[in-house]
């Protein structure tokens, strides 16, 4: 691995870690519920990118899709030796949908909170009598 690509990988990991920091700060420290939801989805997407990185392959990596329906044995072996890891992609695929549906549900809760109590600020919301 050349120094440049090594530096690029370190840069990408640091970016992800920075994103996690931003997301955790947003979830813990921002009082607005919508901002909390945005931070939560940033955290989810960062985690997904992290998992995709784990499955990546150095060198001549190809997509995990065989381009033929009648492969020869050589093609299968070459596919096994060049394609990236499909398992993290499968996990992320399901995680994205769950993330999206959970975000939709949380947004519904936030909308209803605003409608009924007129605030999205959690500091105000905890003072309300339910």
């Amino acid at each position: 691995m050349t120094t440049l690509s090594q530096a690029l990988w370190i840069y990408m990991y640091l970016t992800l870690i920075g994103l996690i920091a931003v997301a955790v700060y947003g979830i813990v420290r921002r009082p607005n519920l919508i901002k909390k939801i945005i931070a939560l989805s940033i955290l989810g997407d960062t985690a997904n990118t992290f998992i995709i990185f784990i499955g990546f392959r150095r060198g001549l990596a190809t997509v995990p899709i065989l381009p033929t329906l009648n492969p020869t044995l050589e093609q299968l072996i070459a596919f096994k030796n060049t394609a990236v890891d499909p398992l993290p992609q499968c996990l992320v695929l399901t995680a994205i949908v769950i993330n999206m549906s959970v975000t939709a549900f949380l947004t519904a809760l936030a909308i209803q909170l605003y409608r009924l109590y007129g605030t999205l600020d959690v500091r105000e919301a905890v003072k309300l009598k339910w």
Partner: protein
């Protein structure tokens, strides 16, 4: 509590959270450097991944194959099928939760026709949106039915088709969709059809097993322990990959209709909500 005391407490809280995040980051960096993620990216992938890649479309060893050239899809609906099945149920529950929170008590189907008479956005936006929405619909259906051959599948197609609803809502209005009968009344049954269909396809081997043939739930292709049952992998050029084509299409219906229901619920005008809440 005096104002200064509250301010001091706030400062202590910030300090604790800052230190906490810093420790978390340092631990994450240390874990990655020490190889918790397995020295990524490596030149070789894990043996499990090699197994999936090698056998997903291995026509020479059909007792282990999934009959799909798309390795990710082979895992989503075959090798790790149960994972996806329960994930679909989580999605189903999330949509039910959102609908339960946003529903209007005592109102069966909300209609904004007659109450509002908005003109929507300008003509340029409307014409462009009409093109885009039709493209999105075509692409989504293509993603769904080619899910077992190309990148994508039921989830992605469903997410794409629900975005078409969202774009139409923003550019035209709710009335535009109501006139085309895209309402929660239609979408909820479609979603149920999708989810029940997935359940039926998953349980089809169990029904077959009642006749005495040994088969596993969610079984796709014949296996060593259940060699007499398997979905047809394809008819000539029309490649189905066993049950994966059905799963992808039904998941497309479930996810697309589910998200459409949520977006339709979001688009109910505040005025209607206030009226209903006032009555209560």
């Amino acid at each position: 509590m005096t104002a200064t005391k509250a301010l001091e407490e706030e400062k202590t809280h910030s300090l604790i959270i800052g230190v906490g995040i810093a420790i978390l980051l340092i631990l994450t960096i240390a874990a990655v450097i020490l190889g918790a993620t397995g020295y990524t990216p490596s030149e070789k992938i894990r043996p499990l991944a090699q197994f999936y890649l090698y056998y997903a479309m291995n026509i020479f060893k059909k007792e282990l194959w999934a009959a799909t050239p798309e390795a990710v899809n082979s895992m989503v609906w075959d090798y790790r099928g149960y994972d996806t099945l329960f994930e679909t149920s989580v999605f189903f529950l999330a949509v039910i939760g959102a609908v339960a929170v946003l529903r209007l008590p005592g109102v069966k189907d909300v209609t904004t026709k007659g109450i509002f008479s908005g003109r929507g956005l300008s003509l340029i936006v409307k014409v462009v949106t009409k093109f885009i929405v039709s493209f999105i619909l075509i692409v989504a259906i293509s993603i769904a039915i080619h899910g077992n051959l190309t990148p994508g599948g039921g989830f992605q197609a469903g997410a794409a088709v629900s975005i078409a609803t969202l774009v139409a809502l923003a550019a035209f209005s709710r009335i535009f969709l109501e006139e085309r009968h895209i309402t929660t009344k239609l979408m909820l049954p479609i979603r149920v059809i999708g989810v029940v269909g997935i359940g039926l396809v998953a349980l089809a081997p169990a029904l077959i097993a009642l006749t005495g043939i040994f088969a596993f739930a969610m079984q796709n292709q014949p296996k060593v322990w259940a060699p007499n049952f398997g979905f047809p992998p394809g008819f000539g050029d029309f490649w189905l990959s066993g049950n994966q084509f059905y799963y992808n299409f039904l998941e497309f219906l479930a996810v697309g209709a589910g998200f459409t229901v949520i977006y339709l619920m979001y688009s109910i005008p505040e005025l209607i909500y206030k009226e209903v809440l006032k009555k209560k």
